[in-house]
Symmetry: C3
Subunit: 365 residues, 3 copies
């Protein structure tokens, strides 16, 4: 059974094919209006995320299917202590495909290992949110006409921004992407993203602190929010915050062919006055997200017909490690074995299969 | 884009036409069963209101459409600080029409100014709840066979009762309506309703404190609940409350052709024993509300086809006022300009465009 | 109007007919895919129960119908003090059939007396949950090929286990059922179940404390959870709890043709390792539950066509009793008369019609 837990589950060819289908849906929605007739999507939101949930529900309805589910954990069996694995097994009886949002990192992976239907990760703690990345890719593709040979700026909180790391990882597999990483020193991109993605794929990049300095260079500007809580010194936050707010004035520095993206919700990091600018793509991005989710649902339901697909978790045995990430699903799920994969044998680094937290192991040889 | 924010958005002709369509749906529901096939209604309930929400959902389903949405704010992006304007823009990507209930007065108006789809106000704080008024009008029309030349009594809390003020405003535009306003002195109709509606339209009215005295005069009795919290002196509440409870005994005083309405939920202001009386129309009123909402959805979706309709908010510039109603949406919505219209130039009175709160301005000439 | 409030509302013939329809749906789902087209199910969950709710929703969707409703009381009018009777009357305007879960015992019965559409009890406090019993019956019938002449073991909390009492009551009406009641002394089956069901129907039974001793005797093992809170002495709980956990080891004692059932959610009373055993029927039980609910919805909608069916509550007048069960709906519902039926005239025992709580009355003769 094929699922989407992490953007890496799909090859570049698969991403391109999803983008092509999404564009075809945008052009000829009527062709798709009955494709999921009689099929059911289960939306299992163990924590609320209205925009993501409604996007999936709209996607399934526009394919002619229907929706069941819950929008927060208090309405769910989790409150009675049911494991994610059991929930996944039971939902298999009620739906044809499920979407899961969960505060525990790795929960959708556990679900996919137990469900008899495809599972889509709609956000698991700070770990992954691959359908946001799919929406981002389609947005760039439509707005810029290509996914290669361009300069993409990421602005704001690059340290904790899950969507930023994930989009960089997806873009790494396209050609000629140059990155401009715009943030205060406190919120610079983590070194593992640099080493394991940017350096590994040989992406060209520069780090700057000034949004105004970066703007003239960019084809795409990906904005994110800077949260006060991230700063040890509140004065430092006050000093910096306005530098990272996109205003009409700063927009004059962006190319006329540029595009501004934002995963939303926005608070005040983009002035409402920018909304009218044709380069402001962030509300269209929400629309593209719906079409990309439609393409994804179609792909996974189609592949689910192949009952012989028995992909399993790849893990290295015998490491004897226990995940030390307090948000990992292994910390609370009943009878769930710890699994790790060695990512750097030299340095003795392994990563938890569920949450991807890094751990050192004692090399035996 | 045409929306329904306040009952005044519709002319008497439009109200009559909605009533006619609702009656036709009641007679020939099958004719309408597929009219909204492939269309989606978004129900955005920032505060819970089960009856209103289910009425809209049933309405859309009986038109062959489908529904997405949320039933309380904790499940919504508002918890993450998203503005009403941004929510409206995003929902435009997911649905064809939206219904909004919001604790902030003016929020649905802000939504309608930002959405690319029609917006229906399903209650914004103490301000307006126009679809209740539509249900009330259809109820009177069906039960009494007309909407003019009759005596309508309003009983209970006439001071705070939003549905009372709104129905009086709607009836004011029909001919020969006589009002009997039945309440304790503490809960009399506010003077602005008297001056700006009753007097302005020259409605005949009388104010009484005794329900029993009023009953023989009435064609329609509109009951509302009296809440203990409204009384400074709890003894006064205890002394009064039974006078305003409708019992089987009191029903003997009402004409045999009379009708009893209530916006529901009822607590104990109408005895359960009255339910069996054929003149008790309050449960049928809920049913009529569904048909009226079906007619409304059809009308707004139909008008939405006309993309050239660019009605905007009418406001008087240059007053330099800031709304002082603490529940007004202008108090919390990001970058929302204060707008006022002058309602009495002589007296220097203007009203906030969003919540209709009154404010005095300094006359410049 | 026919409703399902308690499993006793159906005769054995009706149960057998429901089982036959459910099996036919399992074999030929396409035949049923449009049977409820244009019909609406209202799911009124005054307390959350995700599995039950989603099972009903999936059932209605697979019949081609649609669903409205709420998943917890905070979203409902109950928060505004509306009575169950009024809610039932209003929902009659919005849906064709309703499912109710309510913390108050007897609430669905009150609803069924006021609604103009069929009501299904999806759990009312500790009182009844008949559709779980329907699921259990279909599971036994499919997995064992019959519903008579077999030994059924019930393990765990037999004192408070609502599903246990209800399934015993249903099985009592089939032939040749032998019971093995497996529990710690603290959680033995209540004496009223022994007297009023087991003895009354002359069922053969034995009570044991050891699961291992019982296992070789059983065709069906019905597992339930033992909750720590049920024990006065926590040490006693610690000493006992492992005895009632079903492990791979203990499974070797069960017949190869045996079946293990569990109403779910499971916490740890069945090891996850047992899931792979083909005799583990508890996840299939969830699937059977959906088919049984489909059969039930069809039956009740079909019988609802007969408007002349005017079954009323059977009660004995003149007992002058007031129900003393603090969870009974009579304790809070507005203007609801207490009703009792005499169940043992000799001993002067009556039972509340709503919650079935036992009460002694003074014999007049």
């Amino acid at each position: 059974m094929r699922s989407l837990i992490d953007i890496h589950n799909f090859s570049v060819e698969e991403l391109d094919s999803l983008i092509a289908v999404a564009k075809d849906i945008m052009e000829s929605p009527d062709k798709y209006a009955e494709m999921c007739k009689g099929r059911k999507l289960a939306t299992l939101f163990f924590e609320p995320s209205t925009r993501t949930r409604l996007s999936f529900e709209a996607a399934m309805l526009e394919l002619g299917g229907s929706v069941i589910g819950f929008s927060e954990a208090s309405s769910s069996s989790a409150a009675k202590g049911e494991s994610v694995a059991d929930t996944a097994k039971i939902i298999t009886s009620y739906a044809d495909i499920m979407v899961m949002r969960h505060p525990r990192e790795g929960a959708p992976l556990v679900a996919s290992q137990n469900a008899g239907i495809p599972v889509i990760n709609a956000g698991d703690g700070g770990h992954a949110h691959p359908t946001q990345t799919l929406a981002d890719l389609l947005t760039i593709s439509v707005e810029q006409g290509r996914l290669s040979n361009m300069t993409v700026g990421f602005c704001g909180d690059l340290k904790y921004g899950r969507t930023v790391h994930s989009l960089i990882a997806a873009l790494a597999r396209y050609k000629g992407i140059r990155l401009v990483l715009i943030s205060p020193p406190e919120l610079k991109i983590p070194s593992y993203v640099k080493y394991e993605i940017i350096d590994k794929y040989g992406m060209e990049y520069r780090e700057v602190t000034s949004l105004e300095e970066a703007l003239p260079l960019l084809d795409v500007l990906y904005m994110t929010r800077i949260q006060r809580e991230r700063f040890a010194d509140p004065n430092e936050y006050e000093r910096l915050k306005d530098c990272y707010v996109l205003t009409e004035d700063k927009m004059t520095l962006l190319k006329t062919t540029g595009s501004v993206l934002h995963p939303l919700p926005r608070v005040n990091e983009i002035s409402v006055k920018v909304d009218k600018d044709p380069r402001a793509a962030y509300f269209r991005q929400a629309l593209y997200g719906k079409y990309m989710r439609m393409a994804l649902i179609l792909k996974l339901l189609d592949e689910a017909k192949d009952k012989n697909d028995t992909r399993r978790i790849r893990a290295d045995a015998g490491l004897g490690l226990v995940c030390n990430n307090p948000s990992c699903i292994t910390r609370c799920e009943q009878e769930l074995e710890n699994l790790f994969t060695v990512t750097d044998a030299e340095a003795g680094i392994a990563r938890c299969v569920f949450c991807e937290a890094k751990q050192y192991f004692k090399k035996t040889i």
